[in-house]
Symmetry: C2
Subunit: 373 residues, 2 copies
């Protein structure tokens, strides 16, 4: 008997702990996934990511299609070999990037027609071409192309996007050739509850190995994002992993776990680090703040990461002021470390049946930090 | 009996192999010293520098005086603790940086009067204040303040600078308090042979624990730099280490070793890395070159560094094009690694009495690389 792709190991309220099996290894959930858009998690080596406990990272099919091109990555032996990352990789389809980065873009039933944000050349992405692209890249999880409709679009457009996303998911499923790659469908529907429900139900019937919630966490009110996350999770099958795209902060990740989501990705920890923001269980520290110039404690005295073992806030503060590239690098490692410890701890709390209590404690601590930082 | 600060272990022609003893450990010579001007070797952690075999690094008293300030570094427990580097540190006095970076600077017998390149504030460096500054920083080797006269100044100015450098060296020696810090004097004299000889002889009589050759390798013709290096080395006592400031490329380091110099520092390997230039024993590779986009070999197949173990030229080429900060970081590590292997190999060749033959082979290989890169 074939081993299930996803096993739900424990539930605690709506929160879930599970294991997702991929061609490059098993992924415990809930899981935070560091983002390496251009086949590099900014500033960090694969060794560091593994030491931080990363179990899966993201890359982006749109970016890699434009540069260096899928042929080069295929010639390298696939994305894992190209970037020297031996564990699972999820590739986003590029729909959101076309939507947010490319210019002069149009979408129709065929797909996206857009101009590269790098050189203005014209390209078309179809559900089928994006499947082929990601099969060439060789990622473990491939997102289907979706028609992104964020908060703020009218219901007509939201309905069109959800319907098109459904049709594209069917076309993508039909186009698949590789059996060692899991395709995840993406639920759209903007902030329209009934649309989200309908889209989730219809996609669930297509029996994809996993589902994502797209078009959220891009600037809309947080209560909308959380409401949509709950609604969609309620509709999705329990035996499939649920990935909330673009989440996020520690607080947002915990809120989504509480609503039944399993997988999360965000540039937040590495982007924060480049802006001198260190994440701790007691909130965010702005290392450019004057008071850190003479603070010889580590970022987080309770943290076991190599950055906290080696460097003081004062030294990192100096390095940020002096524009030393060491600072964003080692704070990125710390921040990724922190997010991964948080998703690990959430999993342990769910398995122990004390997620809500644990989460309340963490959120109070994170909030205390907000006052402090 | 007190152990000698410097022991000359072997000579081969004019090339020398020795050991320099400092408060934070012994340094085999010849040695390349990575530069961490602002208390950070750009992009690299102390762990990486140690894994690359670094035995001593540089920092700059002028830069650290301006930012973060010596009081903060003293409060951290000194420069070693501040930057988390347990091995020897040499601090440059700042004379050259005042000369090259500060604006509205004047020099007189008292010292340098200058405006900070960061915020325009006015400061004065005297031989005595620079001793006190470096004693506060707690470096193992402190350079005396020198009056820098590079190639191109007239003989009157060169003579003035050499004479002033001599007087400042005497004042610096008188101002010293710490016994766990070695002061190195700096020979000036521009490109005037007789001035260089006189200055070296006069400084040698002051019995400093080490000597540096300053004011060279800043853009003048290389045959001048090498001629001055030979002349000064001939005048300096054999039982003291000789440090050629600002060298340099692999070729220049070998040429200076052949002329009797022992210690070298340069931003060359890390600066090259930030410009996508990888150093190899077969010359420099420009990783932005189109042909590397599909070259899946490591930078140098014979190199044992973590970068060559993990990443291909094609991947690094992609990361440079995509402005991924991982690329300058890991190529910096490779380049530092290469320079350290080169100074280690030079030492072994001297001890084996085959420096000239070995060096000719290396230079031929480096030149072959120049054609290739």
């Amino acid at each position: 008997m074939k081993t299930a792709t996803f096993t739900l190991e424990a539930t605690d309220g709506d929160a879930r702990a599970g294991v997702l099996r991929t061609a490059h290894g098993e992924i415990p959930t809930p899981i935070f996934m560091p983002v390496g858009t251009q086949a590099s998690v900014k500033g960090l080596t694969p060794d560091e990511l593994e030491s931080a406990g990363a179990r899966i990272i993201l890359a982006n099919a749109y970016h890699l299609y434009l540069r260096p091109g899928a042929d080069i990555i295929e010639a390298a032996g696939g994305l894992h070999a190209f970037m020297s990352w031996p564990q699972p990789i999820l590739t986003d389809s590029g729909g959101f990037q076309v939507f947010s980065l490319a210019s002069l873009g149009t979408v129709d039933d065929e797909g996206y027609h857009f101009a590269s944000h790098l050189d203005g050349t014209r390209h078309t992405f179809t559900p089928e071409s994006v499947v082929a692209l990601q099969e060439k890249l060789g990622s473990d999880i491939a997102m289907v192309l979706d028609d992104v409709a964020p908060a703020g679009v009218d219901e007509r457009r939201a309905r069109e996007a959800a319907q098109r996303t459904l049709e594209w998911a069917q076309r993508a499923a039909a186009a698949r050739r590789r059996t060692d790659q899991l395709a995840f469908a993406i639920v759209q529907g903007s902030t329209f509850e009934e649309l989200r429900r309908e889209n989730a139900r219809a996609l669930a019937e297509l029996d994809f190995p996993g589902y994502a919630i797209g078009g959220l966490w891009v600037g809309e009110a947080k209560n909308h994002s959380l409401a949509m996350t709950r609604i969609v999770c309620d509709e999705l099958p329990a035996d499939k992993p649920r990935y909330v795209m673009g989440v996020g902060t520690p607080e947002d990740m915990l809120a989504c776990i509480a609503r039944g989501a399993d997988m999360f990705d965000c540039v937040y920890p590495t982007r924060c680090a480049r802006h001198a923001l260190a994440l701790t269980m007691r909130g965010r520290l702005n290392l450019r703040n004057a008071r850190f110039a003479t603070d010889f404690a580590p970022i987080d005295p309770s943290c076991q990461c190599p950055t906290c073992a080696r460097f003081s806030r004062a030294y990192l503060s100096h390095c940020f002021r002096a524009n030393e590239m060491l600072a964003p690098r080692v704070v990125s490692l710390h921040n990724i470390w922190m997010m991964l410890r948080l998703s690990e701890a959430a999993r342990a709390a769910i398995q122990a049946g004390r997620f809500e209590t644990w989460s309340e404690g963490v959120l109070a601590s994170l909030g205390a930090a907000g006052r402090e930082g």
